[in-house]
Amino acid sequence: MTLPNLVNVSTAARLSRPLAWVLTSLMAVSCADEVAVTSAVAVDAKTGSTDIAVGAAVDGASATAMPTFVGQAHSAEPYVEIAGLWNAEAQRVQVVVWIGGFTDLLGIAAHLTYDADKLELVAQQMLDPTQESASTGFLWRGLVKDLAPGRLVTGIARFRAISHPYAYPDGTDLARAQWLSLEFVVKSTGKSTIGFDVPTRLARKATGEPIAAQWLTAEVDVPATFVIGGAP
C-alpha cells in the first residue's frame, strides 16, 4: 500500500555501503547483456556477495565518461538487491532485481521507484526465480507495470499449477534468484536512485506471515560530460 505523493523518489534511498565494482570492457560483453549481468552477479554470489555494482568506462581513461551503476549489497538475509550495469553498446542501464535468503516465500511485491527526470524505462521483464512449470506443480506469476512516472508496480507470486480447495498455497526457499529485469535510457546527467517505496515493500510466506527483508537500493550516476541520447 502506498502514497505516491509522499515519496520523493530522488531522495528515497541512500547508499549505505557503496562499493563501485567497475566492469571494464563491457563492449566485449557483446549483446548478451542480461547474461552478463547474470553471470556477474552469480560470480558475486559465489564470492559471498559483497556489493554489486557495475559501472562503465569504455576502454580506459581516454574514453568519454560513462554512467556508473552502484548497488547496495546485502548484509543480512533475506534481501532484495538491485544489480545493474551500464551497457555502452546498448546505451542503456540494465538492471536485475535479485532476491535471496528467503524461506517459504510465496510472493513478493513492491513499487520500484526511480527518478523519471533522469531515467526512462524502456524495457521490463519478469523473471522466473525457480524455473518451475506445470510439470513441477508450480508456476510463478508476475506483473510489472508503470503506475506513474518513476513508479513501477511489480510483484511475483508462486501458484500451484492446479487450483483445488485441498491444494493450499506453498512457498519455496530461495537462496538467490532473479525477480525482474529492467532497462533504462538516461535522460539527464546527475545521480539518481533506484529503490523500492518503503510502504509498498511486501514479502509473505504461504501462511500469510510477512517476511522482513533487507530491501536495498542502487544509484545511477550520469556524469556531466556524458552525451545524452548517444546512439546505441
Binding site: M1, T2, L3, N5, L6, L106, G107, I108, A109, A110, H111, R141, G142, L143, K145, D146, L147, V153, T154, G155, I156, A157, R158, F159, R160, I162, S163, H164, P165, A167, Y168, P169, V198, P199, T200, R201, L202, A203, R204, A206, G208, P210
Partner: protein, 695 residues
C-alpha cells in the same frame, strides 16, 4: 397446516446440511398397562427430584404467573417483590426465577381447556412396522367446554373412550399426515375439575425421510426408535404442554430410553419388559428408543444426573460425550441461565438419523458422534452437534417459539449457542463461518425467505435459512451489542420467558430493556427481510496535511441497502494491526464512505476477516484486494494466498458440488465462478496499474 404444528415439528437440530433433523408421526396400542395418571415415583436418591416433588405438591397453577420483567410485582406468598419472577420457592422461601412453577407457560393465559397430563404406553411392533399406543389423557377445562379437538400423527385405528370403557362420540379427519379428532361431550366439562379419557390407537410407521430429509423413526435390528412421529396428543387449536409418564415395552434383552427421568422397569407376563419414564415438566415433545443400551453417568451443576446411553459396542467412548456434555452445560449455564431440568439423557441412535433431536431433558444423536474422540478430526463435528442439541435445552425447550415465524428462537439460537461454544472450546469460528457460507452459496433467490417468516419451514432451504443464516444473524448482534450485552440479553430473555412461549419480538424488547438499544432496524432487516449484504468495497489512502486516512467506500446497489457494523482490520509494515468496527449506515444512499485515521501508511486493509457480517463483497476497484487504491504486486501476493479456495468442487463423476471452504473470500473471485483460479489471476493482471477513482 395448523399454525402451531410447525413449531412442534421442528424442535430438533442440525449443524450442517448433512446433519438434519426430522418430523414424525404417532401410533397406538390395544393394551393398557397403566390406567391411572398418577406420576410414578421419582428416584428417591436424587435430591433434585425430591425437591421437585415437594414443589409440585405445594405449588399450584395460581403460582404460575410470569411477571412482566421489572414489574416489581410482589410475590403473592412472601409479599417480597422479585424483579424477575416475583415468586419465591415455596420450599426454601428463596426466589428462584427458574423454578418450574415460576413461569409454567403463564404467558398462555388460561385457555378454555388444556391437556394436563398424558400417561402413555407404547408398544413397538417392528415386524408389522406398527406402533400401538394407549394414552390416558387428563383434561382440565377453565370454562364450560362441550367439545375437544386434538391431534395425533396419522393413525389407522383410533378408539376413544371414557376411563370406564364407555364410548365417546368422536369424529376424525386426516390433516396433512395428522389425525385430528373431535370429542363431542355429552355434557360440558366442569371448569377446574379434571377429566380423564382413554385413547387407543395404532399407527403404521413410515420411517422414510420426510420433509427436509429427516427420519421420524427407525426399525433396524440394532436400534428401534420413534422421535418425530408424534404418538401422543396435542391440542389442535392452542399450545397445551403437559406432564407425562411414558411406558415403553421392549424385548427382555433390550433397554428402552427416553427423555425425562427413568424410574425403573418391570417384567411383563409375556416375558418382555416395560420401562417407565417420568416427565415432570410440561412439554409437548418427546421420543423413545430401544437398543442394547448401557449408561454412562455424569453430573451436571446442582448434582443433577447426566445419562449417556450408548449401545454396548460404543460404551468405551461414552465418557467422551459425558465429559463434553458436562462442559457444554456448564458453559451455557453460565452464559444463559442455569440448566433448568431435573437431568438430561443423551441417547445414541443409528446413523441414518442424520442429526440430533432434543426434546426436553433428552437428546437423541446419531451414532458417529458417539465414536468420536477428542484426538480425532471428527471430534469438532461431534462437539458442534452435541452443543447444538444441548443448546435446545434452553432454546426450544426452556423458551419455546410461539409461532412458526419464531422458530429461530429454537434452531437459530441453538446453532448460535453451539457456535459460541466451539469458538471458545475449539478456538475456532469454523462452525459459524460454515453457516455463513452455507446460506450465502446454497440458497437460490427463489427459495429464500426471511428467518422470521411465518412458514419458513416450507422453504426447501429451511435449514440454510433458519439454522445457518439465523445463527449468523445472532452472531452479528455481537457487532452491535458486544458479546457481553448479547449474553446479558439472552440471560434476561431466558429468565423472563422460561417455560413459556415467546416471539422474536419479545427478544428485541428484552435487548432494549437490557442494553437500551433500539434494534427495530436490525430485527426488520435480518428477521423480517430476506437476503444478505451485497456490496462493492473500494479503498484508498488520503494524505491531507500529513494526516493519513484510510478511506473506504461501501456501495450496495440495492433498493434498500443494509445497515451493518463492519470490522475493518488495518495491517502495518511493523507487523502490527488494528481492527475497528465501522458503522455502515446508508440512510437511503447506496454508497457509504468512511474514514479511518492511521498513524502510518498501512500495508493492507482487510474487511471482516472473521466473517462476522453476512455478506458478499466485491472489489469496487477490481483487483485492489488490499484496498490500497492501486492494483499492484501486493494484490497478486494476496491473490496467491487465496488461490485454490472454492465453494464448488468437482466430483469424480464430473458433477460439481457445494464445498464449504473456510478460507473462502469472494473478493478474489474476479471472474465470478465461486472458484479462485487462474482465470482470476488472469483477470487481476488485466487490472494491474489501475488506480481507484476519487471518492
Amino acid at each position: 397446516m395448523n399454525q402451531h404444528l410447525p413449531t412442534l415439528l421442528l424442535m430438533c437440530a442440525a449443524v450442517t446440511a448433512q446433519w438434519l433433523d426430522a418430523t414424525a408421526v404417532c401410533a397406538a396400542s390395544p393394551r393398557k398397562l397403566f390406567a391411572d395418571t398418577v406420576p410414578l415415583p421419582t428416584d428417591p436418591d436424587t435430591p433434585w427430584h425430591a425437591k421437585i416433588q415437594a414443589q409440585r405438591a405445594e405449588a399450584s397453577h395460581q403460582h404460575a404467573h410470569r411477571h412482566d420483567p421489572g414489574s416489581g410485582v410482589a410475590d403473592p406468598v412472601s409479599g417480597v417483590a422479585d424483579p424477575v419472577s416475583g415468586v419465591a420457592d415455596p420450599v426454601s422461601g428463596v426466589a428462584d426465577p427458574l423454578a418450574w412453577y415460576s413461569a409454567n407457560f403463564a404467558g398462555l393465559g388460561k385457555p378454555k381447556w388444556e391437556i394436563i397430563h398424558q400417561d402413555i404406553t407404547v408398544d413397538l411392533k417392528v415386524a408389522a412396522s406398527e406402533l400401538k399406543t394407549e394414552i390416558d389423557v387428563k383434561i382440565r377445562a377453565h370454562q364450560p367446554v362441550d367439545s375437544l379437538s386434538l391431534l395425533t400423527t396419522g393413525v389407522s385405528a383410533l378408539k376413544v373412550t371414557q376411563l370406564d370403557g364407555s364410548p365417546l362420540k368422536v369424529t376424525a379427519t386426516n390433516l396433512s399426515g395428522y389425525t385430528q379428532f373431535t370429542i363431542d361431550l355429552a355434557k360440558p366439562l366442569t371448569p377446574e375439575v379434571d377429566w380423564v379419557f382413554h385413547l387407543s390407537s395404532t399407527a403404521k410407521l413410515a420411517c422414510n425421510p420426510q420433509g427436509i430429509g429427516l427420519y421420524p423413526c427407525g426399525l433396524g435390528p440394532t436400534y428401534q426408535w420413534v422421535t418425530f412421529h408424534r404418538y401422543y396428543l396435542t391440542a389442535s387449536a392452542v399450545h397445551s404442554p403437559f406432564t407425562s409418564t411414558l411406558h415403553v415395552i421392549a424385548d427382555a434383552n433390550k433397554v428402552a430410553v427416553a427423555p425425562g427421568e427413568p424410574v425403573g422397569n418391570e417384567k411383563l407376563a409375556d416375558g418382555r419388559k416395560v420401562w417407565h419414564f417420568n416427565q415432570i415438566e410440561r412439554t409437548d415433545n418427546a421420543g423413545f428408543a430401544i437398543a442394547d443400551y448401557v449408561a454412562a453417568l455424569g453430573k451436571l451443576p446442582g448434582d443433577k444426573p447426566l445419562r449417556v446411553y450408548t449401545t454396548a459396542k460404543y460404551a468405551s467412548y461414552a465418557k467422551n460425550i459425558v465429559g463434553l456434555a458436562e462442559k457444554v452445560i456448564a458453559s451455557f449455564s453460565k452464559d444463559f441461565v442455569p440448566f433448568a431440568w431435573p437431568g438430561l439423557s443423551i441417547m445414541q441412535l443409528e446413523n441414518n438419523f442424520g442429526g440430533g433431536y432434543a426434546p426436553l431433558s433428552g437428546i437423541f444423536m446419531y451414532r458417529d458422534v458417539f465414536g468420536a474422540t477428542p484426538d480425532t478430526g471428527y471430534w469438532s463435528a461431534a462437539v458442534e452437534l452435541t452443543a447444538h442439541e444441548i443448546g435446545h435445552q434452553w432454546w426450544g425447550n426452556l423458551v419455546e417459539p410461539a409461532t412458526s415465524g419464531d422458530v429461530a428462537l429454537s434452531e437459530s439460537l441453538a446453532e448460535f449457542s453451539s457456535c459460541l461454544y466451539t469458538e471458545t472450546a475449539l478456538d475456532s469460528r469454523a462452525q459459524i463461518i460454515r453457516d455463513h457460507l452455507s446460506y450465502l452459496y446454497q440458497v437460490p433467490a427463489s427459495e429464500d425467505m426471511a428467518v422470521g417468516a411465518q412458514g419458513v419451514y416450507s422453504s426447501p432451504s429451511y435449514v440454510e435459512i433458519v439454522y445457518h443464516k439465523g445463527a449468523a444473524v445472532f452472531d452479528m448482534l455481537r457487532n452491535e451489542l458486544g458479546t457481553d450485552q448479547l449474553l446479558a440479553t439472552l440471560k434476561q430473555y431466558a429468565t423472563t420467558y422460561n417455560r413459556d412461549y415467546a416471539t422474536l419480538d419479545d427478544l428485541r424488547y428484552e435487548a432494549l430493556q437490557v442494553t437500551g438499544k433500539d434494534l427495530n432496524w436490525y430485527w426488520d432487516q435480518w428477521f423480517e427481510k430476506k437476503g444478505h449484504i451485497k456490496a462493492d468495497v473500494a479503498g484508498r489512502l488520503v494524505d491531507k496535511d500529513g494526516v493519513i486516512t484510510v478511506r473506504l467506500r461501501v456501495n450496495q446497489q440495492v433498493g434498500k441497502p443494509f445497515r451493518f457494523t463492519l470490522p475493518v482490520t488495518i495491517d502495518f509494515a511493523d507487523g502490527k494491526s488494528k481492527t475497528e468496527l465501522v458503522e455502515i449506515n446508508p440512510k437511503g444512499d447506496t454508497a457509504v464512505i468512511v474514514d479511518i485515521a492511521v498513524q502510518a501508511v498501512p500495508i493492507r486493509v482487510r474487511l471482516d476477516i472473521q466473517r462476522r457480517v453476512l455478506r458478499k463483497f466485491a472489489t469496487g476497484t477490481p483487483g485492489d484486494f488490499n484496498l490500497s487504491g492501486f492494483v499492484d504486486g501486493a494484490d497478486l501476493v494476496e491473490m496467491a494466498l487465496r488461490y485454490g479456495r472454492a465453494m464448488r468442487i468437482k466430483g469424480k463423476n464430473g458433477q460439481e458440488y457445494f464445498f464449504t471452504d473456510l478460507s473462502w473470500n469472494e473478493l478474489y473471485d474476479l471472474n465470478p465462478d465461486n472458484r479462485i483460479d487462474m482465470d482470476d489471476v488472469g483477470a487481476l493482471e488485466q487490472w494491474v496499474g489501475t488506480v481507484a477513482e476519487e471518492f
